[in-house]
C-alpha cells in the first residue's frame, strides 16, 4: 500500500508540473500584457512598453520567469497580479473556498438526487418511473449549463423574485448555482447508478440475500449499492475535472467570485501570475482527487489493497 501510494504521489506531482509548464508557455504565446495594459493610451512608444515589461518581470527569459514561478509556488509565494500588484495568494485564498463550496455542494446535492432515482429506475426497470427518469435525465444531458442557469434566473429571480440573480450572498445566492450544476451532474449520475445497480442486482449474492429473507431496503442499500460504489467513485473522480470546468461557466453567469471568475478575468487581461496560480491550484486539486479515488478503492474494495 505504501509503495502504491508513493508511486501515485510521484506521478501526481509530475502531472501538476507538466500542466504548469504548459500553461506558462501557452499563455505567453497569446499576447503581450504590456500592450493590454497600455491599450487606450493615446501614444505609447516601444520604450514605454519595454518599461512596463521590465516592471512586470517579462524582460527575463522564459526559463527564468518559469523557475521564479515554481520557486515561488514551492515557498507559498504566488507572486503579484499584473493588475495593481495585488498578492495572488490573497486572491486565491478568497476565491478557492467559494469554488470548493460550490463544487462540493453541487456534487453532494447531485448524489442525493441521483442515487435514490437511479436505484428506483433500476428496481423498476422498464416501468413508468424508469422511463420517466430516463427521459428527464436525457433532457438534463441536453441542456447547456449556461442556458439552464439563465432560465433559472428568469424564473426564480425575475418572474418570482425569490432568489438573487447573482452574487455570493449567503445561502440564497448558493441555491441557483448549485441547482444548475447539480441538475447537470445528476443527469449523468442517475444513468450511472441505474446501470451499475442493474448489473449488481443480477448477481447471485443478491438472490442469496433475498432468499435469506432480508428486507428489500437492506438488500438494495446495504448489499447492492455498496457494490456499485467502485464505478460511482471512479466516475465522480473523473467528473471532478469536468465539474471544475462547469464551475467556470456557472460562476460567470451568477457572478460568483470564485476560481473560475478569477481565471476568466486573468485570461482576458493576460494576467500571467494569476492564471498560472489558478491553473496550478486547480490542477493540483484534480490530481489530488484522483489520488484520493485510488486510495478510496483500497478502502471500499479490499481486493485493490493487495495489488
Amino acid at each position: 500500500m505504501g509503495r502504491f501510494l508513493a508511486q501515485r504521489f510521484a506521478l501526481a506531482v509530475f502531472v501538476v508540473f507538466v500542466v504548469t509548464l504548459l500553461v506558462a508557455w501557452a499563455i505567453r504565446l497569446s499576447g503581450d500584457p504590456a500592450v493590454m495594459l497600455a491599450e487606450g493610451s493615446s501614444s505609447f512608444s516601444a520604450q514605454d512598453l519595454r518599461n512596463i515589461r521590465a516592471a512586470l518581470g517579462l524582460d527575463r527569459p522564459f526559463w527564468a520567469q518559469y523557475a521564479g514561478f515554481v520557486a515561488g509556488m514551492l515557498t507559498g509565494d504566488m507572486g503579484r497580479s499584473f493588475m495593481g500588484g495585488v498578492p495572488v495568494a490573497k486572491m486565491v485564498a478568497q476565491a478557492l473556498p467559494l469554488t470548493l463550496l460550490l463544487a462540493l455542494l453541487s456534487l453532494a446535492v447531485s448524489l442525493l438526487i441521483s442515487v435514490p432515482l437511479g436505484v428506483q429506475a433500476a428496481v423498476h426497470r422498464g416501468g413508468w418511473s424508469d422511463q420517466a427518469i430516463r427521459i428527464v435525465s436525457l433532457l438534463g444531458l441536453s441542456f447547456p449549463n449556461f442556458w439552464l442557469a439563465i432560465m433559472l434566473v428568469l424564473v426564480f429571480s425575475i418572474a418570482l423574485g425569490w432568489l438573487p440573480p447573482s452574487g455570493a450572498e449567503g445561502f440564497a445566492g448558493l441555491v441557483m448555482p448549485v441547482a444548475t450544476m447539480a441538475i447537470i451532474l445528476s443527469a449523468t449520475n442517475v444513468r450511472l447508478v441505474r446501470t451499475a445497480m442493474l448489473e449488481t442486482l443480477g448477481a447471485q449474492y443478491i438472490t442469496v440475500a433475498r432468499s435469506k429473507g432480508l428486507s428489500e431496503t437492506v438488500v438494495l442499500y446495504k448489499h447492492a449499492l455498496r457494490n456499485c460504489a467502485i464505478p460511482l467513485i471512479t466516475f465522480i473522480g473523473l467528473q471532478f475535472g469536468g465539474l471544475i470546468g462547469g464551475v467556470v461557466v456557472v460562476e460567470r453567469v451568477f457572478n460568483w467570485p470564485g476560481m473560475g471568475s478569477l481565471a476568466f478575468d486573468a485570461v482576458a487581461s493576460r494576467d500571467y501570475p494569476v492564471l498560472q496560480a489558478v491553473v496550478t491550484v486547480l490542477a493540483a486539486m484534480i490530481v489530488l482527487v484522483n489520488l484520493l479515488v485510488d486510495v478510496l478503492y483500497g478502502l471500499v474494495d479490499p481486493r485493490v489493497r493487495g495489488t
Binding site: V35, S42, L117, F156, G167, T217
Partner: protein, 508 residues
C-alpha cells in the same frame, strides 16, 4: 416503499431549500447601486487605463481641471489657469482650503508630487505615463500657484489634466503606502471617499464632508462588479441594482419593456471603421479602395443590424470629437459607380479580398457578413476572417499581417481627433502597419504645434478630409452607449466619456 419515501423526502428537501428564501430588499433609500462590468483591481491613477476606472474613480479624485457632461472644461482643484509662452507653459491658481480624504492638505506641493510620480520611475511601470510625456517640469511658484512646463507642444494637455493619470494624490500618504497599497485604499480629494473595497466583488463610496463642489445627495454608492451583461440586466430587472452599464443592443428590449426601468444613452467614444491594407494587394490601388467605400451601404447597416443604435460616420471620429467636420459629406452608396471604378482599376472580377475582425465582437460579425455581401455584389469575392482579440491587436495588426481590410475601433476619453489620427496614420505608429505618407505625417505633426484652437480645429478637419479623399479607410459607425436605469434614480446624466460624477444624483 422505502425508496419512494426517500424520493418524496428528497423532493420535500428541495422545495424547502427554495421556498423560504425571500426577495432581497429593493435598493435602500439614499443608496445607489451600479453594476460595473470590470474591476480595475487597482485605483491608483497611474497603474491602469480602463474606462471602468474612469467611471468609478472620477468620484474619488479631482483633477486640476474638470470636464462636465458637455465636455466643457471647468475649474477643478485649480480655480483658474492661463496658457503662457505660446502654449508651452500652463499656469494654475489653486483652490485653497481643500483637504484629502485622510486630512492631508492640498497645495502646489501635491500637484508637483503627483506629476513627478506620474513621470518618474513609478509612472513608467504603468500605462499612464506615455500620455503625459510632453510635460517637461512642474514649477511651484507659491503654495497656491503652479506651472506645468511643456517640452513639446501638446494642445490636448489641459483636457488630459481632467482625468486618469493626472488625478491629484496626497503626497505623504502615497509615498508611505506605495502603489499597490494605495491601489487598494485610494485617497483623493473627490466628492466621495472609499469606505469599502472587496476585490472583484464591490466597492463602496460615501460622501466626503465639505467637498468644494457641494455635498452629494446620495448617502452611499455601491458598485458591484458583474462581468456578464445578461446578469447585469437580470439584477436590474430584479431591482437589486439601479444602473446597468454598457447594455448590449440585444438586451435593450428587456429594459424598455419594463415600466420601472428606462434607457439612458449617449454618443459613445468609440468609432468603428474598416482600415485598408494600403501597402500590398489589390487595396494598394486607391481606386479599388474608393470603389469598396462606395459599394457598402452604411445607413442600411446602421438601420438593420445596429437597429438604429448608432450613427454612420464620415471620418474616424464621433460628432463630439474636436476635429469633426460637419461639412464633410459621406461617400454615397453607389454600387454601379463601384463596379465602374473596379473595372477602371482593371481588377479581375472575383478577386478575393478578406475582412479581418475581432472574433469576440458578435455584432461586428454580422456587420462583416453584410459588408462581404455588398462587396460580393460589386464583383469582388469577400471572405470574413475572425481573429482572437489579443492575437489581432498584438500581432496581426501591428505586424501588418492583416488581409485587405481590418476592423478597428478607436476613440479615447479626450475626444480630440489627434488621439486617433496620429496613432492611425502617422508612419511608424503601433497601430499603423501600412500607411506611409510624408505629407500626412507633416500635417499630423504640424497640428500639434498650433496654439490657436480654431486654427488647430481646421488643421484636424483637413486631415480628416485628406484621409477620406485617399480612401485610407472605410468609415462605418459610432455606436451609442446605453445604460439601463431604474426610474427611482434621479438626476443621473450619462457623460459621453462614461466618467460619472454623482454629485447631483439622488434616489427616491
Amino acid at each position: 416503499m422505502r425508496v419512494r419515501l426517500m424520493l418524496s423526502t428528497a423532493v420535500l428537501a428541495l422545495s424547502a431549500v427554495t421556498a423560504p428564501v425571500l426577495a432581497p430588499p429593493a435598493g435602500a433609500a439614499g443608496t445607489l447601486t451600479i453594476a460595473q462590468a470590470q474591476d480595475p483591481n487597482t485605483w491608483d491613477p497611474i497603474s491602469t487605463f480602463l474606462i471602468a476606472w474612469g467611471a468609478v474613480a472620477s468620484n474619488m479624485f479631482d483633477g486640476l481641471v474638470l470636464r462636465d457632461e458637455q465636455l466643457t472644461l471647468k475649474p477643478g482643484l485649480a480655480t483658474s489657469w492661463e496658457v503662457l509662452d505660446e502654449g508651452m507653459r500652463l499656469r494654475f491658481k489653486l483652490r485653497q482650503g481643500v483637504t484629502f480624504h485622510n486630512g492631508e492638505p492640498f497645495d502646489a506641493e501635491a500637484v508637483r508630487f503627483t506629476m513627478t510620480r506620474l513621470l518618474g520611475p513609478e509612472g513608467a511601470k504603468g500605462p499612464q505615463q506615455s500620455n503625459y510625456t510632453s510635460i517637461g517640469s512642474v514649477e511651484v511658484l507659491d503654495p497656491y500657484t503652479v506651472d506645468i512646463v511643456l517640452k513639446r507642444p501638446d494642445p490636448v494637455m489641459i483636457s488630459k489634466l481632467a482625468g486618469y493619470g493626472a488625478m491629484i494624490v496626497p503626497p505623504k500618504y502615497t509615498a508611505e503606502k506605495g502603489s499597490a497599497e494605495f491601489g487598494q485604499h485610494p485617497v483623493g480629494t473627490g466628492p466621495f471617499k472609499v469606505t469599502g473595497y472587496e476585490n472583484k466583488v464591490s466597492l463602496t463610496l460615501e460622501p466626503s464632508a465639505g467637498h468644494w463642489d457641494g455635498k452629494p445627495k446620495l448617502d452611499k454608492v455601491v458598485y458591484r462588479f458583474i462581468v456578464e451583461p445578461n446578469t447585469q440586466v437580470a439584477e436590474l430587472q430584479a431591482g437589486r441594482v439601479d444602473v446597468a452599464s454598457n447594455v448590449p443592443i440585444a438586451l435593450i428590449p428587456a429594459i424598455t419593456a419594463s415600466p420601472s426601468l428606462h434607457l439612458l444613452s449617449t454618443t459613445g467614444p468609440t468609432v468603428t471603421v474598416l482600415r485598408f491594407n494600403t501597402a500590398n494587394g489589390p487595396t494598394r490601388d486607391e481606386r479599388v479602395r474608393r470603389a469598396m467605400v462606395m459599394a457598402v451601404d452604411r445607413e442600411a447597416i446602421v438601420k438593420q443590424i445596429l437597429q438604429g443604435h448608432a450613427k454612420a460616420v464620415t471620418s474616424f471620429q464621433s460628432t463630439l470629437s474636436f476635429g469633426f467636420d460637419p461639412a464633410q459629406k459621406p461617400v454615397p452608396f453607389d454600387p454601379a459607380g463601384a463596379k465602374k471604378l473596379l473595372a477602371e482599376a482593371k481588377l479581375p472580377p472575383g478577386t478575393v479580398v478578406s475582412l479581418d475582425f475581432r472574433s469576440n465582437d458578435t455584432t461586428f460579425r454580422e456587420v462583416a457578413q453584410a459588408i462581404a455581401g455588398y462587396l460580393t455584389a460589386a464583383g469582388l469575392k469577400a471572405q470574413v476572417r475572425p481573429f482572437e482579440m489579443n492575437l489581432f491587436t498584438n500581432d496581426i495588426i501591428p505586424n501588418g499581417k492583416t488581409g485587405e481590410m481590418f476592423q478597428m475601433g478607436w476613440g479615447g476619453w479626450t475626444f480630440d481627433y489627434d488621439n486617433t489620427a496620429y496613432l492611425m496614420y502617422h508612419s511608424g505608429e503601433h497601430w499603423n502597419p501600412y500607411d506611409k505618407d510624408a505629407g500626412l505625417d507633416a500635417m499630423l505633426e504640424g497640428q500639434r504645434r498650433i496654439a490657436d484652437r480654431g486654427e488647430r480645429e481646421k488643421a484636424l478637419q483637413k486631415i480628416a478630409n485628406f484621409v477620406a479623399d485617399h480612401a485610407l479607410e472605410l468609415p462605418l459607425y459610432n455606436v451609442d452607449t446605453y445604460y439601463g436605469v431604474n426610474r427611482r434614480v434621479k438626476g443621473l446624466v450619462v457623460p459621453p466619456d462614461n466618467r460619472f460624477r454623482l454629485i447631483g444624483t439622488s434616489v427616491e
